[in-house]
């Protein structure tokens, strides 16, 4: 078989994380010769998904430092019931990328216009819950739209009017700069209380919608308003009662794989377990010389490196715990809106200071994405929790506290932790630490696509992510039983 170095490549892409895979998709209908490699043996990079055995074999590359302090715990209690114990390795698809995708995100439009959405199955992110630490009840469902607010007995009429006033403003904040620009660097909380007289518990609810990982004091107006607006305007786009979706079988990991297949269908060559060890820009020949870890050297016009950490000071670190629970936690998934699809994900928010620990104070909020077995990530009768908070010396006990408080407050007596995987994750330019898909990734992809496409991209003869259906249909049917 011919070797990789026999081909004059147009583009070599290193890494199959979500951003790099979307680039492969974007280039999949060009005539470019594309070599797509990943030093990992699996697809997805920082957005991969694993079976239990793959987690055991996961030794995050310490040189890039994206993942650190990986800590695994398994329940070894002997129980009789099936759902009460860990199933076989492949019954799980634990994802490093459980980001929700708002229905307003351009990603969905691009997955549709590039036609790969047919290989994906999207599921609704249903209820959002907020934990108040005092109760009862400990968990309160966030109102899902205006009618829900009107019906809410827990909000007095004055607060309701203030809230409605704010909601009306925020979905149109761009056209009303006079109402917020002067306060753009202020904290959202102060803004909500001084400008809209919202009481503290409503401030927490509004803040929760931003999915901010920061303390309330550092969650500022100009950052928060577009996110709140996105949340509210996304509800109802694809059906009643939800504003975000996730792809079945591991979220971003599944998109990355489907995008890479599109790259392969377009003629791209895929090699895993093979990284780039050295890349030399040979300016005279306008080509790159790329040395691969399998010993081969290839030449290419364009080279897309595996991206490094985001620039120093802005680069954040988050802590995450993935947990398998021996219960469906069905109370979190009750259908609250008529006609809405069965939700596969619920979001539980623990605002700053709502978790009480002896050894630590919880300065930053904790978010737990609860994935039902409908996501294909665990067997029926169980669910997977994805807990995230900003990194600190005490983030592990804080995440543990969030998980146990969550389980307790659902009052599901059969619920126990069966498995937890803790890790710290450094933010990366192509893998931002955001609990919702960040559309800036698409801007990066389009930038890289333009560069690789040269004049074809610029003169409009090729449109970004706009592809015809590949024709799989053929006229003759096969209509009888014997051959």
């Amino acid at each position: 078989m011919e070797s990789l170095s026999d081909t004059k490549w147009d583009v070599v892409i290193s890494g199959t994380g979500l951003q790099h895979s979307l680039l492969a998709l974007a280039l999949s209908r060009s005539d470019k010769k594309i070599l797509h490699v990943d030093h990992n043996e699996y697809y997805g990079g920082a957005e991969a998904a694993f079976s239990l055995q793959e987690v055991d074999e996961w030794h995050p590359d310490s040189s890039t430092g994206t993942f650190q302090n990986v800590t695994l715990w398994k329940d070894d209690a002997d129980t009789s019931s099936q759902s009460n114990k860990l199933s076989f390795s492949r019954a799980y698809t634990l994802t490093l990328s459980p980001q929700i995708i708002y229905t307003k995100s351009k990603l969905l439009g691009q997955l549709v216009s590039s036609k790969v959405y047919r290989q994906l199955e999207f599921q609704a992110v249903g209820n959002w819950w907020i934990y108040n630490g005092e109760g009862p009840p400990l968990l309160k469902r966030l109102p899902n739209g205006r009618e829900d607010i009107f019906r809410d007995q827990g909000i007095d009429n004055r607060a309701k009017r203030s809230l409605m006033k704010f909601l009306k403003f925020v979905v149109d904040f761009e056209n009303q700069p006079e109402l917020w620009e002067a306060d753009s660097e202020c904290s959202l909380q102060d803004f909500l209380s001084s400008r809209f007289q919202l009481p503290p518990h409503l401030q927490s609810i509004i803040t929760a919608l931003t999915l901010s990982l920061d303390t309330p004091g550092r969650t500022i107006v100009k950052w928060a308003l577009p996110r709140i607006s996105r949340h509210l305007t996304s509800i109802g786009v694809f059906g009643p009662g939800f504003g975000a979706v996730i792809p079945k079988w591991g979220g971003g990991a599944e998109i990355a794989q489907v995008a890479c297949r599109a790259g392969a269908v377009g003629g791209g060559v895929y090699v895993l377990g093979t990284g780039v060890t050295n890349a030399v820009d040979d300016r005279d020949k306008e080509r790159w010389r790329i040395e691969l870890s399998n010993g081969e050297t290839v030449g290419t016009k364009h080279y897309i490196p595996h991206s490094g950490s985001a620039n120093g000071s802005n680069s954040r670190m988050v802590s995450k715990t993935i947990a398998v629970v021996s219960s469906t936690l069905s109370s979190l998934f009750v259908n609250s809106t008529e006609g809405s699809p069965l939700a596969a994900v619920s979001v539980v928010v623990f605002p700053s200071g709502t978790l009480h620990l002896e050894e630590a104070t919880q300065d930053c909020p904790v978010y737990v994405m609860v994935h039902s077995s409908e996501t294909g990530e665990c067997p029926a009768g169980q669910c997977v929790l994805y807990a995230t908070t900003l990194y600190s010396a005490t983030s592990k006990p804080i995440l543990d506290a969030a998980l146990s408080s969550l389980i307790k407050s659902t009052e599901c007596s059969d619920a126990r932790l069966l498995y937890t995987l803790y890790y710290d994750q450094q933010e990366d330019i192509s893998s931002p630490c955001d609990l919702a898909f960040d559309d800036r990734i698409l801007e990066n992809v389009e930038e890289q696509w333009k560069e690789a496409m040269g004049s074809e991209g610029a003169d409009g003869s090729s449109l970004f992510m706009q592809f015809e259906e590949r024709r799989g249909i053929n006229p003759d049917d096969d209509n009888d039983d014997d051959y």
Binding site: M1, Y43, A49, R90, T93, T103, L108, G109, Q110, L111, V112, S113, S114, Y117, R118, Q119, E121, F122, Q123, A124, F238, G239, F242, V245, W249, E254, Q257, V258, C260, R261, A262, A264, V265, G266, G267, V269, Y270, V271, L272, P341, L342, A343, A344, E374, Q466, R470, G472, I473, N474, D476, D477, D478, N479, D480, D481, D482, Y483
Partner: protein, 203 residues
């Protein structure tokens, strides 16, 4: 009359080593074409749709090719999602391709959904003089994995329909498998089939 869209769809995958004849078999079956040159047939083929009736009942076959991702064994888990059947192809004139089949069975068995039907095919039956794997060996390997077996030639058309008809027959006998592949009530349609999204709006 039922439109094609509403027919029950069966997803069937082709796997096996590079050069085994997967694409040639698929294209012979679907388009009744055969290209003797080493073709780039794989490129651009995402899937093929074909209507097949068994016992008078029509099904829509969604046949997926490997898109070359078998070359370095980089087929993704997502390729196997929801597949009702997997056709494993080796080349009877190439011992190595037969020797690789254990690993392909293993990959299919770990990734396909429980109960998915496997089917082993020895291809290039026309190359009698160059045969390196006997039909007996093929049969034994198939039995070991509890699946059916046949030999085909995409070139001469011999037996080309057999693996597809047989695998569909086996799949439709198992109602649990049939329903396992279908999408559940919770699926959100983001595509608005045929309208809106993507077609125009670049906003």
């Amino acid at each position: 009359m039922a439109s094609d869209e509403s027919l029950p769809t069966l997803k069937i995958l082709m796997i096996g080593p590079s050069g085994a004849g997967k694409s040639a078999l698929l294209i012979r079956y679907c388009d009744d074409q055969f290209d003797n040159e080493y073709s780039t047939a794989t490129i651009g083929v995402d899937f093929k749709l074909k209507k097949l009736s068994v016992h008078g009942k029509p099904y829509r076959l969604n046949l997926l090719d490997t898109a070359g991702q078998e070359r370095f064994r980089t087929l993704s888990n997502s390729y196997y999602r929801g597949a009702h059947g997997v056709i494993l192809v080796y080349d009877i004139s190439n011992r190595d391709s037969f020797a690789a089949m254990e690993r392909w069975f293993e990959e299919a068995e770990t990734n396909a959904m429980p109960g998915a039907v496997m089917y082993l095919v020895g291809s290039k039956l026309d190359k009698t003089a160059a045969r390196q794997v006997s039909a007996d060996e093929g049969q034994r390997l198939a039995e070991k994995h509890g699946c059916s077996f046949c030999e085909v030639s995409a070139k001469t058309r011999e037996n080309v329909r057999k693996p597809f008809v047989d695998i569909v027959n086996a799949i439709v006998k198992d109602p649990k498998l049939l329903s396992a592949g279908s999408r559940r009530g919770g699926t959100v349609a983001v595509g608005g089939e045929g309208e809106g999204w993507g077609s125009g709006c670049a906003c």
